[in-house]
């Protein structure tokens, strides 16, 4: 039942916000985000004591076709729920000193997105999962569309069509599975135990994989991503990159692997090769970027490519590493985009070569930014390190050559990140550079929060691994 309560709070927030006073919208959204975060802590305690039982919720919804509302949590889902509920308050808070037009609607959409994301992470019936998957698309579409820059109509339409194309293929896959199941059910427990024959798994795999690969995005399904990240408002980009793309990687573990173990093994070499190619490709493109947000977008492709590759090694280390890295990447990328937003807010530009000398103007900001950057390039003791280490290790175990190629991403990552940092933050101020105003209280809170998370998870990765280990063991058994 706890799962319903987790879902209910953001939904309530979304509805209340729609009718809220424009001035009250931001604090109200934050209060609800914090309530949800505190509730998550409670849920975590309950999970540690009683396991997943307390979260189980099942209720018949439609009798023809047989659809049950089924929510539940295991360690992996809980990790995603924690990530979502941790990041949303930060994302809300980060907009406190910004002028947003029509804030009530904007924050209502964010809360609704929050609700849909939680639904995706907790749904255990194929239909419910699919519906939440689609629901998550609508608010982010309008956020990116309405509050983005002048290019956003064109860019977001591409994003919308792309992701919808993927989800429709997935719907087709679900329908096919539903017809094939002897007792016509899309419940996760049924799907993960009664596999269709491997002849079907071969092609059904791609119906699902396409949907996930577009969301993640894995090259060559990524072309919507950099432009969308750039055009969307920063809070939208944070939602997209921090949480929404985790929908894809999470779904690989929750749905693809249990339903199509044979398909996973069959396509494993191709997907890993694609992912590894993507890592290198995106890293090289990132080096050439002049726009800060685009650079982060490509670096994000590189990181999630590694996560996907790790999952597809189908080993405990790979999956464990991918989970650690999913959490770490969510936190880091939100930090990166937030820093970019602060720079944009002060300097009015994100072109790297037009920046410079920020360290002289605002040493605190430079320090904060550096820590986030170091987290992203996976320095030991930061959260990026543990996950990346485990992922590369699993890749090496799978194939030394692929591992070696993927390993270059660490070097390339350091190259583009540090190069960017050097040009944008260090050095002298450029001619037309605007003054750098001091950080506001809400910006400090967000940055300090993110940095503490970076260190906590870097020093105690056991928090994550202990949580997810039982669930991973169960997953591995399915293969």
């Amino acid at each position: 039942m706890l799962s319903l309560e987790l879902l209910f709070i953001p939904l309530l927030a979304a509805i209340l916000l729609l009718f809220a006073n424009e001035k009250a919208a931001k604090p109200l959204a934050l209060v609800f985000g914090l309530v949800e975060a505190v509730f998550t802590v409670y849920a975590y305690q309950v999970f540690q004591q009683n396991g997943s039982e307390a979260f189980e919720f099942q209720m018949p919804w439609v009798n023809k076709p047989q659809i049950n509302i089924h929510f539940g949590l295991d360690g992996i889902s809980l990790l995603m729920v924690i990530l979502t509920n941790l990041l949303v308050p930060f994302i809300v808070l980060s907009g406190f000193n910004r002028d947003t037009k029509r804030p009530a609607v904007f924050y209502a959409l964010i809360s609704f997105m929050h609700f849909a994301l939680l639904g995706v992470f907790m749904a255990l019936d194929g239909f419910i999962y699919y519906i939440f998957w689609e629901l998550a698309l609508i608010p982010i579409y309008f956020i990116a569309f309405n509050w983005g820059d002048e290019n956003s109509p064109k860019v977001t339409l591409k994003f919308f069509i792309y992701t919808l194309a993927g989800s429709l293929l997935m719907l087709f896959g679900f329908l096919y599975l539903y017809m094939g199941m002897p007792n016509h059910s899309l419940d996760w427990s049924v799907l993960s135990t009664q596999h269709t024959c491997s002849c079907n798994q071969t092609w059904l795999f791609w119906m699902f994989f396409a949907a996930f690969a577009i969301k993640i995005p894995i090259i060559p399904f990524h072309t919507w991503q950099p432009d969308t990240y750039k055009s969307a408002p920063t809070q939208g980009t944070m939602l997209l990159s921090g949480i929404m793309l985790k929908m894809g990687t999470y779904s690989l573990l929750r749905w693809l692997l249990p339903i199509f173990p044979a398909g996973m093994i069959e396509w494993q070499p191709i997907v890993i090769t694609l992912s590894v190619t993507g890592i290198v490709y995106a890293s090289i493109i990132a080096i050439m970027q002049r726009d800060l947000k685009k650079l982060f977008a490509y670096s994000s492709i590189a990181h999630v490519g590694l996560i996907a590759a790790g999952i597809f090694t189908l080993s405990v280390e790979g999956i464990q590493g991918s989970l650690v890295q999913m959490l770490a990447h969510g936190i880091n990328v939100v930090g990166l985009f937030f820093c970019a937003d602060i720079i944009l807010n002060r300097k009015g530009t994100l072109q790297i070569h037009q920046l410079g000398g920020i360290r002289l103007q605002s040493p605190w900001f430079a320090a904060f930014f550096l820590i986030v950057v170091l987290g992203a390039v996976a320095l030991p003791l930061t959260n990026g390190f543990v996950g990346e280490f485990m992922l590369l290790y699993s890749l090496f175990k799978y194939n030394v050559w692929l591992g070696a190629v993927a390993g270059t991403s660490v070097i390339l990552g350091a190259v583009y990140m540090l190069k960017m940092y050097q040009t944008a933050i260090l050095g002298d101020t450029t001619e037309h550079s605007e003054p750098m105003e001091a950080l506001q209280w809400n910006e400090k809170v967000v940055l300090i929060g993110i940095i503490s998370l970076i260190f906590i998870l870097g020093i105690f990765p056991g928090i994550v691994t202990n949580l997810t280990q039982p669930a991973i063991d169960q997953l591995i058994k399915l293969i």
């Binding site: 609607v105 519906i131 629901l135 609508i138 919308f160 069509i161 919808l164 087709f172």
Partner: protein, 456 residues
């Protein structure tokens, strides 16, 4: 049966009101009358019967679809009372003819005899020819009425000819006798030709490609309210009648006509969706979207032998209410801006955020995105087709849904992304009421599909 009689009485009553100079009372009386009719219709629930020497039947199927048809008419007439507010001296004509369309629709739903079917189709069509051309001084409306009449007459000709051939083969107009004949061992070419011709006429009525050429022009030229009426009521009733007709040939379809329906379905999906991409006029866009929806429904009809009629009702419900909701807003926009192009919606998101949000919701509903009713409607159809092994048909259906999203989104983009023009959009209370009613119902039924699909 009573419903049909009282509907006709209501229609004539309206004309009498005109004669005795009670013009102002027409709209309230009509709305009250339709609500009563709705009740009378529901009263027949679970009381099946056969009337007029076995020409009309009443059962839960007819009651369900009748209820939807009456409800659509009610919504449309509410909009119409607003739309025709400036043309008071013609209002009784318009309202009465629209009521007669409903009569025709009821005959098409309840027929058990092909003669009754033909009378129903003609009552419905002739009323609509008149309505499409009802803007007498507008050349486009004239063109629409004339074009619809010409093409429609051909279709009626086909229908009549087909019925005659079927009669020749079976010596009966009665559906049960025809069904008996069709399930027998010997089926003559005469009979098959007859059925084929009837199918052509039906394809025409539901505007499936390649029998769709009239639809865009007629939809564009006809007064907006009539476009909304045609695209909802006629389509839903047409498909119900189609379903009933195919049901008779439960054994014959897979053998003889499946290829035909499959081809028409694919053609409708492809032409409907692809042509819609290129439209700038909102009403033409809706016409092509209607053609593509005909394609989806045809996929459902292929399995008419096993496909539950409640799913057709569900799809019709979602489609009709989303469309009426969209038109209730669009008509207000057309009236204020004087343009019927998609560009008329430019900047609506800034000028009137609530209207824009509602219109976006109806567009998403038409595109079949959950939680609106359009999603489960498509879902039922696709899952049924997959069960019958129509693998590629479903794939084409899904691909064309994707294209659909693109052009429905065009309207949304116009509202939010394009700069606003000066005109202020005024929307009357009636339109708002209809809009909210449609939206809430589509949402409720989208979240709880069993409300409709559990009916029969």
């Amino acid at each position: 049966m009573n419903t049909l009689i009282y509907t006709s009485v209501l229609g004539f009553g309206l004309m009498v009101l005109e004669v005795i100079k009670l013009r102002k009372w027409i709209s309230p009386i009509l709305i009250l009358g339709l609500s009563i009719l709705f009740g009378i219709n529901i009263h027949d629930w679970n009381q099946p019967g056969s009337f007029m020497g076995n020409m009309l039947e009443v059962n839960n199927f007819t009651v369900g679809f009748n209820a939807l048809a009456i409800f659509i008419t009610l919504l449309i007439l509410m909009l119409a009372s607003e739309y025709y507010a400036d043309e008071e001296h013609h209002i009784s004509d318009y309202m009465a003819i629209m009521t007669f369309v409903l009569c025709g629709a009821q005959m098409m739903l309840g027929y058990t005899n092909l003669v009754m079917f033909f009378i129903g189709v003609e009552t419905l069509s002739i009323s609509l020819y008149a309505l499409s051309g009802s803007k007498r001084f507008d050349i486009k409306s004239n063109e629409a009425g004339f074009k619809y009449f010409l093409m429609g007459s051909f279709a009626s000709g086909f229908l009549l000819f087909g019925i005659a051939l079927v009669y020749g083969a079976t010596q009966s107009f009665d559906l049960n006798k025809i069904a008996e004949y069709a399930s027998g061992d010997v089926v003559t070419p005469l009979f098959l030709t007859g059925v084929l011709l009837i199918l052509f006429a039906l394809f025409f009525k539901v505007s499936a490609a390649p029998f769709h050429f009239w639809a865009p022009d007629v939809y564009e030229g006809a007064p907006s309210i009539i476009t909304a009426f045609m695209s909802t009521l006629v389509k839903v009733v047409g498909f119900a009648a189609f379903y009933k007709f195919l049901h008779v040939f439960a054994y014959l379809i897979p053998l003889k006509f499946e290829w035909l329906i499959v081809t028409v379905a694919i053609l409708s999906l492809v032409t409907g969706n692809l042509s819609a991409l290129a439209q700038d006029n909102f009403k033409r866009l809706m016409a092509y979207s209607g053609i593509s929806h005909a394609g989806y429904l045809l996929i459902g009809l292929i399995g008419a032998a096993t496909f539950p009629s409640s799913s057709i009702l569900y799809y019709g419900f979602g489609y009709a209410l989303s469309t009426i909701g969209a038109f209730s807003i669009a008509m207000a926009v057309f009236k204020s801006t004087g343009s019927e192009d998609i560009s008329a919606f430019n900047g609506l998101g800034k000028k009137n955020p609530i209207l824009a949000a509602c219109l976006s919701a109806t567009m998403l509903g038409l595109a079949g995105i959950p939680p609106f009713a359009g999603f489960f409607g498509k879902f039922y159809i696709f899952s049924e087709a997959l069960q019958n092994g129509h693998f590629y048909l479903v794939l084409i259906g899904i691909l064309s849904s994707m294209v659909g999203v693109y052009y429905y989104m065009k309207v949304v983009i116009a509202m939010y992304a394009k700069p606003a023009n000066e005109t202020k959009i005024e929307i009357s209370l009636t339109n708002q009421l209809v809009m909210w009613l449609c939206l809430v119902l589509v949402l409720i039924v989208g979240i709880m599909p069993s409300l409709v699909t559990g009916l029969f």
